[in-house]
Symmetry: C2
Subunit: 158 residues, 2 copies
């Protein structure tokens, strides 16, 4: 569907720049909703799955909440609640750092590991299904264009 109808705009978008921006934002927001539905089948949110996936890359020592916040690109205060909920579900544990008591080492439980590896397979199948709608050339253009936009934001918006 055309953006103008999707957003119920009374007038066509006057500027291609604005149309391109809204295209991107609206698509990302729809992807978010699709991903909410997908992960809720496993009793997870997308962010929770992301944490499980990051932790599964990092083995027995896990990551501190500070490190997690850097991987997730959110504030450390946000991580507190995220880990609280995952801990309540039995998917992760807060363990003491052996030499520095300021740190929590966040590690997957066996239950968390099991769920992660199950969901991950299904997740990548869905990603392929959706993204194969684009041609290889479109994907290259997209990746490249998005990188330039991020470069602009990081160097100007901050």
């Amino acid at each position: 569907m055309k953006l103008q109808q999707e957003l119920k705009l009374k007038q066509p978008l006057a500027s291609v720049n604005h149309e391109a921006l809204l295209s991107l934002v609206r698509t990302s927001s729809l992807m978010q909703k699709l991903s909410d539905r997908f992960f809720s089948r496993y009793g997870l949110t997308d962010v929770q799955f992301n944490i499980l996936m990051i932790l599964s890359e990092h083995g027995r020592d896990g990551l501190s909440q500070q490190e997690l916040s850097e991987h997730l690109i959110v504030t450390k205060s946000n991580v507190v609640g995220l880990i609280d909920r995952l801990e309540r579900g039995g998917y992760v544990k807060r363990e003491a750092h052996p030499s520095d008591r300021r740190f929590n080492q966040i590690v997957l439980t066996p239950k968390g590991e099991k769920l992660e590896s199950k969901v991950e397979k299904s997740y990548f199948r869905e990603v392929d299904k959706m993204m194969n709608i684009l041609t290889a050339s479109e994907k290259r253009t997209l990746i490249q264009a998005m990188e330039r936009i991020r470069h602009y934001i990081v160097n100007n918006g901050a």
Copy 2:
């Protein structure tokens, strides 16, 4: 910066599909943060400005909260709080519908109108600055590709 570093991934992204998807999601999230900073200069959030802009298109009769929720593509329960906060700030008013007492007609106050028109100018300047980083051809490709992705989501994810 390359996505792999931005997301602190230990390994390069195995699939172009996943890389394209994360490009998009990560860029949209950075845009969100940029827009947070932009609108906070005016004491607004991006969603609040969006509401003001939608209302300014719709004149004296305004919109019901239900209609607003359709424009914003959020649930009606979310709109309650959004309008509460805008009303508290003096930017909008809930008015009674003349013939159907179920409806609130949401309209801009003069204060809301004034702020909207001021912020809007500045907003479009910023959009142009950022999106002019892309070539006209990249923007066309982006708009077109995003539309196909949204079509897929609406027809498969629902």
